[in-house]
């Protein structure tokens, strides 16, 4: 069996994706578990001209930085194509393809323990999604 790796975006136009990486798990309040879509997670800030970032999730504040990945990462999408298979493999007629949909060269990495913000102004965010947002950040053991 052979799976073609395609790049339908074209080699020159591969869109750039990004990663936010943190230790621990973003937890969602139980009432929102099944409808996470559009739910606000937090605010990502870049306080100065350096590549340092803060990420505020609920009442936790993480500090981290933007780093270049040592090795690039490609985002591949598995596509099942239905159709006649040319080979005489005795399998079903569906074929699998992989399509390159993006490339990742940087991530914003948070590897420090979060700081608990006991009091402080909640960042104001426009949009109706914010009202329902109740995401908190939980440090893993």
């Amino acid at each position: 069996m052979q799976i073609q790796v395609k790049c339908s975006c074209g080699a020159e136009n591969c869109p750039e994706w990004a990663i936010i990486e943190l230790q621990g798990v973003v937890e969602v309040q139980p009432s929102f578990q099944d409808s996470l879509q559009n739910l606000r997670i937090g605010q990502l800030c870049r306080p100065s001209s350096q590549e340092n970032y803060t990420f505020t999730v609920g009442y936790h504040e993480l500090t981290g930085s933007k780093v270049a990945l040592k090795k690039p990462m490609l985002v591949l999408k598995k596509i099942k194509c239905m159709g006649t298979d040319q080979s005489d493999e005795a399998t079903s007629s569906s074929r699998v393809e992989l399509d390159v949909v993006g490339i990742i060269r940087h991530k914003i990495l948070f590897k420090n323990r979060p700081k608990a913000l006991i009091s402080g102004p909640q960042p104001v965010v426009k949009g109706k999604a914010n009202a329902a947002a109740a995401a908190t950040q939980k440090q893993s053991v």
Binding site: M1, Q2, I3, Q4, V5, C7, A11, C14, P15, E16, W17, A18, I19, I20, E21, L22, Q23, G24, V26, L36, Q37, N38, L39, R40, I41, G42, Q43, L44, C45, R46, P47, S48, Y53, F55, L69, K71, P72, M73, L74, V75, L76, K77, K78, I79, S87, E89, T91, V100, V101, G102, H106, I108, P123, V124, V125, K126, G127, A129, A133, S140
Partner: protein, 397 residues
């Protein structure tokens, strides 16, 4: 102090280009989910062009670990998990179920007020260069050796025949064998395979023997030198003796090498080592033989003008002393597994102790990217030296 987030720019770009003293809202994408069909693959920068220009494929059967093949190399694909939360942020216009642009311009799009996380990735795939997995090649091509019967009856290989006897085209092989195209081609050459009527075949040794002996017979009759055989002459004589043209060329190719092209004729020189290995295997096919008996018959079969010696058979035969007699039997490196762990296991089953000079021909061809032969020995054998001036001996670890 912090600026309001910018609602007009969304997706990965806004995050990666965040300006000093700016902030952006991060939320779950409208289509957030497990998206098991989205896979992260980490790879060396130098492999990027091959992937982006669609020059790689994944090969393997459903019960095998997948390998990724460029034109000339093979990589095993391994999943590496992470305990961190890796939030994947696509570019602004990404939509997994976007069937037409109207969906993207619609409501969902506006709801993204910052950068959206489409998936939390459990880890990523990474590539490790490996030796091509060619062991299967010999076994599948040996299912239907090309024999003299087939050549003579000129079997018409239509679909009825094919369904009875499994034969493999180049495309069949790329679907079945986990190796890059270049490595597959080299593997076919190394196993003396030949393409006949679009199918890759290994020719039965008995049939090759017939052709080879006819070649030698004719060279004596016509007073040809085995160091400069004229291709056209050899092929036409063998053809008139009833052998397919393709097989005549194949015989020259397997047992000889091209010397030069004079005008447009090929000139070939027979290879003493390959010839004498062939005859040794023929003699020992039925089982082991006493050394004297073997040598006598072997020397008789080899053309007079060829210089041969017993050590040309290294890596092909083993000798053992039973009582006062020395016996010879077939033990060919080409029949052994190509993966180091299995190779050493079989070698030590065959013989618990090996001296370096005997062992070397049986591991010389082992290819593990990143491991030298010393490292292989260290990993799979134990080296002992019974006496300071004695030969080192290798045993299983």
């Amino acid at each position: 102090m912090m600026e309001q987030p910018q609602p007009c720019c969304k997706g990965a770009q806004v995050m990666l280009n965040l300006q000093p003293t700016s902030s952006v809202s991060i939320q779950y994408h409208p289509l957030f989910g497990s998206h098991d069909d989205l896979i992260l693959l980490e790879l060396d920068e130098k492999l990027l062009p091959d992937v982006l220009y669609q020059r790689v494929t994944l090969r393997g059967q459903t019960d095998e670990d997948a390998v990724l093949c460029t034109k000339s190399k093979t990589y095993s694909v391994k999943f590496v998990g992470t305990s961190n939360s890796v939030l994947l942020v696509p570019p602004a216009d990404y939509s997994t179920s976007c069937k037409n642009s109207r969906d993207c311009d619609g409501e969902d799009y506006e709801q993204q007020i910052g950068a959206s996380v489409i998936k939390v990735a459990p880890g990523n795939m990474e590539l490790v260069e490996v030796a091509p997995r060619l062991d299967k090649l010999k076994s599948i091509l040996s299912e239907n050796l090309y024999s003299s019967d087939e050549a003579l009856e000129k079997a018409d290989l239509d679909s009825m025949e094919r369904s009875k006897r499994r034969l493999y085209t180049w495309d069949d092989l790329t679907n079945k064998v986990q190796a890059s195209d270049d490595e597959l081609r080299t593997g076919l050459q190394a196993r003396s395979a030949v393409e006949i009527d679009g199918y890759w075949r290994i020719v039965d040794e008995k049939y090759m023997d017939l052709i080879l002996r006819m070649l030698f017979h004719n060279s004596v009759l016509n007073d040809w030198s085995l160091d400069s055989l004229i291709e056209d002459k050899v092929v036409s004589v063998l053809e008139s003796d009833g052998f397919p043209r393709k097989l005549a060329y194949h015989c020259l190719y397997v047992y000889g090498g091209r010397v030069e092209e004079a005008m447009d004729r090929g000139v070939w020189k027979m290879d003493a080592r390959r010839v004498c290995v062939h005859f040794a295997r023929g003699i020992l096919r039925e089982g082991k033989r006493k050394m004297e008996s073997f040598m006598e018959e072997w020397m008789r079969m080899i053309p007079e003008e060829m210089q041969v010696s017993f050590d040309m058979l290294e890596g092909e035969v083993l000798t053992e002393k039973l009582g006062v007699e020395t016996w010879v039997r077939v033990f060919s490196v080409s029949s052994l597994p190509s993966t180091p762990a299995e190779r050493f296991s079989i070698l030590f089953k065959e013989r618990p102790k090996w001296e370096w000079k005997d062992l070397e021909p049986y591991i010389r061809d082992l290819n593990v990217p990143g491991l030298s032969s010393e490292a292989l020995l260290l990993k799979y054998t134990r080296r002992t030296q019974p006496k300071v001036d004695a030969e080192p001996v290798f045993t299983a670890r």
